[in-house]
């Protein structure tokens, strides 16, 4: 086992454990902390693939800004411990079936396409800062600008909602 593979398994394990803990934790803050662990483990995986810029941005945007907002809101609302109800039978049986189906689907996809996964894991130039900015501002400039416009609309909507409450 190479060092790279070992690091991959540690990070993947961390991400998986964080994701499970996110669901099982009773307190919202603990769930948020688990989500931060997932985000940072994902950033580590990106770094392992050679996508330095994406890894740094993953931590700055998801680990930093977005999760800080989550934690901030949970603290501000002083959310207490969740009450866990027993899962209803109707949700339980189809849910279990869906889990098995999804796991099987993912496993089948991975088993069928090992070669192409290995081929794409050598990102190199494409994932560098230059490659990403070329893609964002040359190849996909219109979708990119449209997305930012969408975010602007969301910001305006939030402002309008907040203002209406005040008056």
């Amino acid at each position: 086992m190479t060092a790279q593979l070992a690091v991959f398994f540690v990070l993947a394990g961390l991400a998986a454990i964080g994701a499970v803990s996110l669901i099982l934790q009773k307190h919202p803050i603990h769930s948020a902390l688990s989500l931060i662990v997932v985000m940072i483990a994902l950033a580590g995986l990106y770094l392992l693939l050679g996508a330095e810029f994406v890894a740094a941005v993953q931590i700055i945007v998801y680990g930093g800004a977005i999760m800080v907002l989550f934690v901030f809101v949970i603290m501000l609302l002083n959310a207490g411990i969740e009450e866990h109800t027993s899962i209803s039978k109707m949700a339980g049986a189809p849910g279990l079936l869906l889990v098995v189906a999804l796991a099987g689907f993912v496993a089948a996809t991975i088993a069928r396409s090992t070669e192409s996964i290995q081929a794409t894991s050598q990102t190199g130039e494409l994932a560098s800062t230059l490659g990403i900015s070329n893609m964002l501002f040359k190849d996909f400039v219109y979708p990119f600008e449209l997305t930012s416009f969408l975010i602007l609309v969301a910001v305006l909507g939030a402002t309008v909602l907040a203002q209406r409450e005040k008056s």
Binding site: H27, I29, H30, L33, I36, I40, A43, E52, F53, A55, A56, V57, I59, I60, G63, G64, A65, V68, L69, V71, F72, M75, L76, S128, T129
Partner: protein, 414 residues
């Protein structure tokens, strides 16, 4: 046994060198932190016409040691009703992230050759491709230490402090990141080494080639936002003692409190490093390249400081001081003389010397502000961040982009 150990070291040399560098940097940073508290108390005291620490050791120089021992041996009660896991995690997180950020700073361009290997100053190699982004990633996580400490203490004042700090850090991080974009545009890289080298395009200009002149607006925004990010006066609302007792660390005592303290001082050092690197030429000398006699400035400064310490020491009140201070002065003078006598060493220390002097100046500015500025009111803080700093830093990005575009269009410069 020894031969086995030697074989182990030579097989994993890179690993052991990095480990040794981490331990050394940790020791240096913690010592500097300790003396930064002494320095801060002394400078603030002199600003307010007091003596400051004066009893423990000559000029109070052993005060940090006494403070450290006090932190170690104080009782460490855990308040009832705290969220244990998060309560213990918060100071660890704050300290670990602050120390990680300083590991990403390069302290010099040239490696030392030791045992047949090139050893760079700083833990990561100086040409880390995402240098500044990695630093921002680490500092972006820094808010968790404060916010979680405030929340987990299960107490009113810490919660208010934690809320304030999260809001403040989110608001100022935008301005902080935007204000650096101008520098990044000029250098065309995230790499800290390349950012410094981009400021040395005109070696004959000396300090007029630094980024601070074209990026004066960016520097203004960056420094203010950075002070707010480190929760220092005049932005120390998360721990405003007249309103919130001690803010987010009210319920922490003993070494857990010390960890927050060390984290705050370490992030002060990181911000000073970043200010020097991004805007003040990093390890570049402020003098034009052809002023070769300026290379003797470090030695001259060291020798004159050492002689002053000796002169001050022989007249000191206590016998201990009369023995220790001249001893320290002699060591400093000898170090300065050594640099004059060994030209190779003198050339090598130029870069770290200038970087460290700039860091020292910024640390002094930090302390100076603490001694002179009153704290912001909370609404003033938010209005300042959102309505002044953020628009200014965005304007700086636009102006810089247009200037670079114009330069490319009309002068054809690359």
């Amino acid at each position: 046994m020894i031969s086995f150990f030697l074989a182990l070291v030579s097989a994993n040399a890179e690993l052991f060198i990095t480990l040794a560098k981490i331990l050394l940097l940790l020791f240096i940073v913690l010592t500097v932190n300790a003396y930064l508290t002494w320095f801060e108390r002394k400078v603030v005291a002199h600003i307010q016409s007091r003596w400051g620490p004066h009893r423990v050791g000559p000029h109070g120089l052993l005060q940090p040691l006494a403070d450290g021992l006090k932190f170690l041996f104080k009782e460490d009660p855990t308040p009832a009703g705290v969220d244990k896991f998060v309560y213990y995690l918060a100071p660890l997180l704050a300290l670990a992230l602050a120390l990680t950020s300083i590991a990403l700073i390069p302290f010099g361009p040239d490696p030392i050759r030791l045992f047949g290997r090139d050893i760079y100053l700083g833990i990561t190699p100086p040409d880390l491709n995402i240098g500044i982004l990695a630093l921002f990633a680490v500092t972006a996580l820094g808010v968790y230490g404060v916010a979680l400490a405030g929340w987990s203490s299960n107490s009113k004042y810490p919660l208010l402090g934690g809320l304030r700090s999260s809001a403040q850090m989110i608001s100022y991080e935008l301005a902080l990141t935007m204000s650096v974009v101008g520098v990044l545009l000029m250098a065309g890289s995230f790499n800290l080494k390349k950012i410094i080298e981009a400021q040395a395009h005109h070696p004959e200009w000396g300090l007029f080639g630094w980024n601070v002149w074209p990026q004066i607006l960016g520097f203004f925004c960056f420094f203010i936002a950075a002070v707010a990010e480190t929760n220092r006066v005049p932005f120390d609302l998360p721990e405003a003692e007249s309103e919130l007792v001690a803010g987010f660390h009210t319920e922490y005592s003993s070494f857990k409190f010390a960890m927050f303290f060390i984290a705050e001082y370490t992030s002060m050092i990181t911000v000073s490093c970043l200010c020097s690197i991004l805007f003040f030429g990093g390890w570049l000398s402020p003098f034009p390249a052809w002023w070769t006699y300026a290379h003797y400035l470090p030695s001259a400064l060291l020798i004159s400081f050492g002689l002053w310490v000796i002169w001050d020491g022989i007249r000191y009140e206590t016998l201990f001081g009369r023995i220790v201070l001249p001893g320290v002065g002699t060591v400093i003078t000898a170090l300065g003389a050594l640099f004059v006598l060994l030209p190779d060493v003198n050339e090598f220390i130029q870069a770290p010397f200038w970087l460290l002097s700039k860091i020292f100046v910024f640390l002094f500015v930090y302390v100076w502000m603490r001694g002179t500025l009153p704290r912001f009111r909370y609404d003033q803080l938010m209005a300042f961040g959102w309505k002044l700093l953020l628009p200014l830093s965005i304007m700086n990005v636009i102006l810089t982009s247009f200037a670079i575009l114009a330069k490319m269009q009309w002068w054809g410069a690359k």
